[in-house]
Assembly symmetry: C2
Homo-oligomer: 97 residues x 2
């Protein structure tokens, strides 16, 4: 099992609609990429100062399945059209479980 974790911060000018579109279009990947075993997407809860703004936690059976997700054309479209226009910073880890 491989767990992909990525945290984003958004630019100051990012709108609520733009942030919501990232979450909606990432969640829709579940129906497009059957290799996804578990998928958690969402905005920071606002408990702590200094946090990143948004998180994705996605589980896959194998590294190859993760690579299908990473490189999938629809995923790459969401990155290019929804994430990159409002991206300030990104932190990621893949964990073997």
């Amino acid at each position: 099992m491989i767990r992909h974790i990525v945290l984003f911060t958004w630019t100051d000018g990012a709108t609520d609609e733009q942030k919501a579109a990232v979450a909606d279009e990432l969640r829709a990947l579940i129906g497009v990429i059957p290799e996804i075993r578990s998928f958690t997407v969402g905005h920071d809860a606002g408990i702590n100062q200094g946090n990143h703004d948004f998180a994705v936690v996605a589980d896959f059976d194998t590294v190859d399945d993760y690579l299908v997700y990473r490189d999938h054309p629809r995923h790459q479209e969401v990155i290019a059209q929804r994430i990159k226009p409002i991206l300030a910073s990104r932190a990621a880890v893949q964990l073997g479980l």
Copy 2:
């Protein structure tokens, strides 16, 4: 349910022993803090360039349970004694699930 996610990068001088001690002592919190529902800790798998080095994903039933973990004296000891001496950067999100 609240999911706490944190990613670290380590200083260039951090040793394998120091990195392993972070993982070991964080995992041992499962036996000390019963509010932890699920706890995944580990080093980046090395699939992608530019990643952070280490991840923690911890689930709790409530925000209050997460705060017990966050502020627990033993957790604070691990942060002070094991994490901070080798910490280069940190990114975190708490997600309501």
